[in-house]
C-alpha cells in the first residue's frame, strides 16, 4: 500500500470514520491497530520486528527511569538499537560474504533462508526510539505509563514508512490530549495533501522517469550541459518526492488532529550549508544536531574551550554528516556524500571565523543569490556520490569538465523543474507553505481544479513509483 495510492487513502478514510466516533482513549488504540494493519500489508515480518523493537525500547525506558541516572541502561538501549540498525542495514553486505564462506567450507545451504530485507521505516523509527531513551535519561520526558501510546509513537501509520522523525517529548503529549479537528485544520490538511500529490505524482515521478537510465551507467556519453541538467532534475525530483510524501502524511495526520513536523522549507533557496541543513529533511537534521552534533561539540569544548580550535570546528560537522551518510546507507557512495557535506560545513565555518556573523537574509541580494548558486551546486556535486556508484560518480565529474561540446539539454527538464520552482517561490515569498489558503475563493477553487486535473491525468497509466525515502 503506497502512501499516494487510492488503497491508502481508502484505508485512511475507513480509519478516520471510526476514529471520529470513538472516545479519545479508544482513538489511540484504533490508531495503533490501524498502524499495525497497515504495516502488515507491507509485510508481517516488518510488523514483528517493530513489535519487538517497541517492547525492547519500552522496557529499557522504564529501566532508565527506575535506576536513576540509568546510564548503563541508556548505553544498553543505544547499543541495542544501533545493533539492530547495523544488522539490517548491512545485511546485504555481509550475507553474501557469509554464504561464500560457508560454501568455501563445502557446506550448501538454502540461500532463501538467509535473505534479510531491511524493514521499511526501520531507520526512521529507530531514531525515534533512541530519542525517547535519551530524553528519558535526560529526564526531559517520563517513561510512558501508557505502553499503547509509546507503541503508537513508533508505529503511527502516517509517519511509519519515511517519517517525519518525531520526538517523544513533542509527540507523546499529543496522544494524551483531546484532539480537535475544525474547519481550519481540515482545510490545512486537505491543502497539504493536494500540494503533496502534485509534488509527488505530477512533478517528482515525471522528472525521475525522464532521467535517462544511461546517465547512471555511462555518464561520459553526455555533454556538460546535459549532465548538469539531468543531475539537477534528479535533485529536484528527489526533493519533490520526499517533500510530497511529507506533505501527504502531514495532511492525513492532520485529519486525525495530530500535527506532524515539517521536513522541508525550500532547501533549494538555501544561501549556505548551515541553512541548507535547516531546510532539507529538517527532522533528521534536528535529530542529528541534538543527539550527535551538540554532544560532540560540548564534549570537545569541555576539553578545549577555544571556539577557534580546529578540532572543535571540524570534528562535530564531519562526524554528524558521516552519521547522516551512514544512516542513509552503508554504501561507500553515501559515506562519501556525508564526508563531503561535512567538509563543506567545516569550510563554511572556517571562512566565517573572525568575521561578524551576518544572517544570510541580511546580506546584499547579489551575495544571497550567489550563495544559493554555490550551495545548490555543491549540494548537487556531493549528491552525485549518493546517486551513482563511486567509479561512475568520478566519471561523471570528469565528463562534466571534459565533454564541453555545445549540446543543449532536454527541454523536458525545464518543463518539470519550472512548476516545482513556481510552487516554491510562491510559498517562500508568502512565508507560508499554505499561502494558497489566503487567496480569494475563486482563485483557490481554480488552483484546486488545475491541481486535481493534473493529479488525475498524471496518475493514470503506469505503476506509481514508490517514495525514494522508503528505501532508507
Amino acid at each position: 500500500m503506497n502512501v499516494q495510492s487510492l488503497e491508502f487513502f481508502g484505508f485512511a478514510a475507513v480509519v478516520l470514520a471510526l476514529y471520529y466516533v470513538l472516545p479519545m482513549k479508544k482513538q489511540n488504540y484504533l490508531l495503533l491497530i490501524a498502524s499495525y494493519v497497515f504495516y502488515i500489508t507491507l509485510s508481517y515480518y516488518f510488523a514483528i520486528i517493530l513489535l519487538l523493537m517497541t517492547l525492547g525500547n519500552y522496557l529499557l525506558g522504564r529501566k532508565i527511569e527506575k535506576e536513576k541516572p540509568g546510564r548503563k541502561w541508556l548505553l544498553v538501549g543505544i547499543g541495542f538499537n544501533l545493533m539492530v540498525f547495523c544488522f539490517f542495514k548491512s545485511a546485504h553486505f555481509f550475507v553474501p560474504e557469509i554464504l561464500s564462506f560457508i560454501s568455501r567450507l563445502g557446506l550448501h545451504i538454502q540461500t532463501g533462508s538467509l535473505k534479510i530485507i531491511l524493514p521499511i521505516g526501520l531507520s526512521f523509527y529507530i531514531l525515534q526510539a533512541l530519542s525517547y531513551l535519551i530524553d528519558v535519561y535526560r529526564e526531559q520526558i517520563p517513561a510512558g505509563n501508557e505502553p499503547a501510546n509509546f507503541a503508537l509513537y513508533l508505529a503511527y501509520f502516517p509517519k511509519l514508512t519515511a517519517g517525519p522523525i518525531e520526538r517523544a517529548q513533542t509527540f507523546l503529549p499529543k496522544l494524551s490530549k483531546q484532539r480537535v479537528v475544525d474547519n481550519k485544520l481540515l482545510s490545512r490538511s486537505f491543502t497539504l495533501i493536494i500540494i503533496g500529490l502534485v509534488r509527488k505524482i505530477v512533478i517528482a515521478d515525471t522528472l525521475m522517469q525522464a532521467v535517462p537510465a544511461g546517465l547512471f551507467k555511462n555518464p561520459s556519453d553526455f555533454s556538460t550541459m546535459e549532465l548538469v541538467a539531468w543531475v539537477t532534475a534528479l535533485l529536484v525530483g528527489i526533493y519533490n518526492d520526499f517533500c510530497g510524501y511529507t506533505n501527504i502524511v502531514r495532511g492525513i495526520s492532520g485529519f486525525f488532529g495530530i500535527e506532524l513536523s515539517r521536513n522541508f522549507n525550500h532547501p533549494l533557496f538555501s544561501r549556505n550549508f548551515t541553512e541548507f541543513w535547516n531546510r532539507w529533511h529538517i527532522t533528521l537534521s534536528l535529530w542529528l544536531r541534538d543527539y550527535v552534533y551538540f554532544p560532540i561539540s560540548r564534549a570537545l569544548v569541555r576539553r578545549n574551550p577555544s571556539r577557534n580550535n580546529p578540532v572543535n570546528i571540524a570534528l562535530p560537522p564531519i562526524v554528524t554528516m558521516l552519521a547522516s551518510g551512514i544512516w542513509h546507507s552503508f554504501s561507500p557512495g553515501f559515506i562519501t556524500w556525508g564526508a563531503l557535506m561535512g567538509l563543506f560545513l567545516v569550510a563554511e565555518r572556517s571562512l566565517s571565523l573572525g568575521r561578524p556573523l551576518v544572517p544570510p537574509g541580511k546580506k546584499p541580494p547579489l551575495r544571497q543569490f550567489l550563495g544559493i548558486i554555490v550551495t545548490v551546486s555543491l549540494a548537487i556535486t556531493a549528491g552525485i556520490f549518493a546517486f551513482f556508484t563511486i567509479p561512475n560518480a568520478l566519471q561523471f565529474l570528469k565528463s562534466l569538465f571534459s565533454n564541453t561540446a555545445w549540446v543543449l539539454p532536454d527541454s523536458r527538464v525545464f518543463l518539470m523543474i519550472i512548476p516545482s520552482l513556481v510552487v516554491d517561490i510562491i510559498q517562500y515569498r508568502g512565508k507560508n507553505e499554505l499561502v494558497f489558503l489566503t487567496y480569494p475563493l475563486f482563485i483557490r477553487a481554480l488552483l484546486l481544479t488545475v491541481a486535481l486535473t493534473a493529479i488525475f491525468l498524471f496518475s493514470q497509466g503506469g505503476i506509481p513509483a514508490p517514495f525514494v525515502y522508503q528505501g532508507f
Binding site: 476514529y19 471520529y20 472516545p23 479519545m24 482513549k25 482513538q27 483531546q178 484532539r179 480537535v180 479537528v181 475544525d182 474547519n183 481540515l186 482545510s187 515525471t206 522517469q209 525522464a210 535517462p212 488532529g257 532536454d410 523536458r412 518543463l415 518539470m416 475563493l441 475563486f442 483557490r444 477553487a445 481554480l446 484546486l448 481544479t449 486535481l452 486535473t453 491525468l457 498524471f458 493514470q460 497509466g461
Partner: protein
C-alpha cells in the same frame, strides 16, 4: 466525571460554511473539461497540435491509429484495412490497391494499411477484433508470411496490445483510462504529451529514419533501397535460418488465426501470404518445405471458414529489385504487389468468390436479395 466528559468530546468540529472551495472547484472542473474537450475537437487545434496518441508504447501503432481516425473522419467510412506485421507495412500501398480494385469492379474502396512492426499473429488477431468492431470495415486483409506462425517469435507485441488500457477497453475489459482514451480527444492529446515527457524522441525516431506515413497508412522511405547480396544483414539471415531449421507452428498463433477467421461473420476476410525474397527460402534446406506445408495448413483452415486465401509465392511476382531486404519489399515491389493484389481481390469480388458486406446505409434491393 470531568475526565469522562472530556473523553466524550467530539473530535470533529465543523462549522458552516464548509467546503465552498471544493464545491466551486467541482463546478469549475466540469466547465474546464467541457471547454478543453470542445477545443480539442476543433480543426484549429487538430491542425496546430501533433497527432494524439493512445500511448501504446508501439511507435507505428501510435502513428497509424490517429491517421486512421482522420481518414474515417474525412471520408466518412473505411472500406478495407490491411493488417499484419512490418511485411504488410512495407508491401501494400492502399492507393495503388484501390485503383487496381476500382478498375476491376468499378467500385472505389477507401483503404488503410495497418501493418505494424512485429505484429505477429497473436497481436494481429487482437487488433483485428478491435478494428472490425470499432471501424466496421467491409474487408479485412490479413497479410503474413507463413513463417510468421513460428513459435520462435517473441510475443512482445501481443503484450503491448493486451496491456494497453485502450486496447483492453475495446476488448471489453473496462478501465477508466481506456474509456477516456476512447471517448476524449483531449485525453489522447495529453497522452501524446505524456509520452513525450516519458520517452524522448519516441515519435521523432521514425522521421529521423527518413520514413513518412501517407494518410492511407502506407509508409514510404525517402530513398528506394534495393536488396543485393552485398547488403545482406547477417544477423537477420541467421535469425530466419534458425526459424526455418527448427520450424514449429505456434499454438497461440494458430489460435489467433482461428479467432480472426471467426470474424468473417462480421466482415469480409482475405488472408494473403506476402511474398518474400527468393533467398529467404534458400536460407535453409527445409525452407521451401516449411513454407509449403504451413501455407497449405493455413489455406485449409481458411477454406473451412469459407475465407479466401491468396497464395503468392508460387508466382515469380515481385522482381528481385522490388525488395529492400529478404523479407520486406521496397516501394517499387509494393507498387507491383498492391496492383496485383487489387486485381486479385477485385476479380474474386466480381466473380462472386468473395462477398463484401454492403456499405452502412446502403439500400439493398429486395430483388437482389431474392435472386
Amino acid at each position: 466525571m470531568k475526565n469522562r466528559s472530556t473523553e466524550k468530546e467530539r473530535t470533529l468540529k465543523i462549522r458552516r460554511p464548509f467546503g465552498q472551495t471544493i464545491l466551486l472547484a467541482a463546478i469549475l472542473l466540469i466547465i474546464l473539461l467541457v471547454l478543453v474537450e470542445t477545443a480539442a475537437r476543433t480543426d484549429f487545434v487538430r491542425d496546430a497540435l501533433p497527432a494524439p496518441s493512445i500511448a501504446s508504447g508501439h511507435k507505428r501503432l501510435d502513428i497509424k491509429l490517429p491517421l486512421l481516425d482522420d481518414l474515417v473522419r474525412e471520408e466518412g467510412r473505411i472500406d478495407c484495412i490491411f493488417l499484419g506485421g512490418s511485411d504488410v507495412n512495407a508491401s501494400i500501398n492502399p492507393d495503388v490497391f484501390s485503383r487496381a480494385y476500382e478498375k476491376k469492379t468499378g467500385e472505389k474502396l477507401i483503404c488503410f494499411n495497418f501493418g505494424l512492426d512485429g505484429f505477429i499473429p497473436p497481436a494481429a488477431a487482437v487488433m483485428a477484433k478491435i478494428l472490425v468492431e470499432k471501424y466496421h470495415p467491409r474487408l479485412l486483409v490479413w497479410g503474413f508470411s507463413p513463417t510468421s506462425f513460428s513459435d520462435e517469435f517473441k510475443r512482445t507485441t501481443k503484450e503491448i496490445v493486451s496491456r494497453n488500457p485502450w486496447c483492453r477497453y475495446r476488448l471489453g475489459d473496462f478501465n477508466l483510462e481506456g474509456w477516456l482514451t476512447d471517448y476524449s480527444r483531449a485525453y489522447r492529446y495529453f497522452l501524446r504529451f505524456r509520452t513525450w515527457l516519458e520517452r524522448p524522441g519516441y515519435f521523432e525516431k521514425l522521421s529521423i529514419r527518413g520514413e513518412k506515413t501517407s494518410k492511407y497508412g502506407y509508409h514510404t522511405a525517402e530513398r528506394v533501397k534495393t536488396f543485393t547480396r552485398f547488403k545482406r544483414d547477417e544477423e537477420q539471415e541467421s535469425r530466419y535460418r534458425n526459424i526455418l531449421s527448427d520450424f514449429n507452428m505456434d499454438n497461440q498463433a494458430l489460435a489467433a488465426l482461428e479467432k480472426t477467421l471467426r470474424l468473417h461473420s462480421q466482415t469480409g476476410i482475405v488472408l494473403v501470404d506476402i511474398p518474400v525474397h527468393p533467398r529467404y527460402l534458400t536460407l535453409h534446406e527445409r525452407g521451401a518445405d516449411v513454407y509449403r506445408k504451413s501455407a497449405s495448413y493455413i489455406k485449409k483452415r481458411a477454406g473451412q471458414y469459407g475465407v479466401l486465401f491468396i497464395s503468392t509465392n508460387r508466382f515469380d511476382l515481385i522482381p528481385r529489385s522490388g525488395f529492400r531486404n529478404i523479407s520486406h519489399m521496397n516501394t517499387r515491389g509494393a507498387r507491383i504487389f498492391s496492383r496485383w493484389l487489387g486485381r486479385q481481390i477485385g476479380r474474386a469480388v466480381s466473380k462472386g468468390f468473395l462477398a463484401l458486406p454492403p456499405r452502412p446505409g446502403t439500400v439493398v434491393s429486395l430483388a437482389g436479395v431474392l435472386k
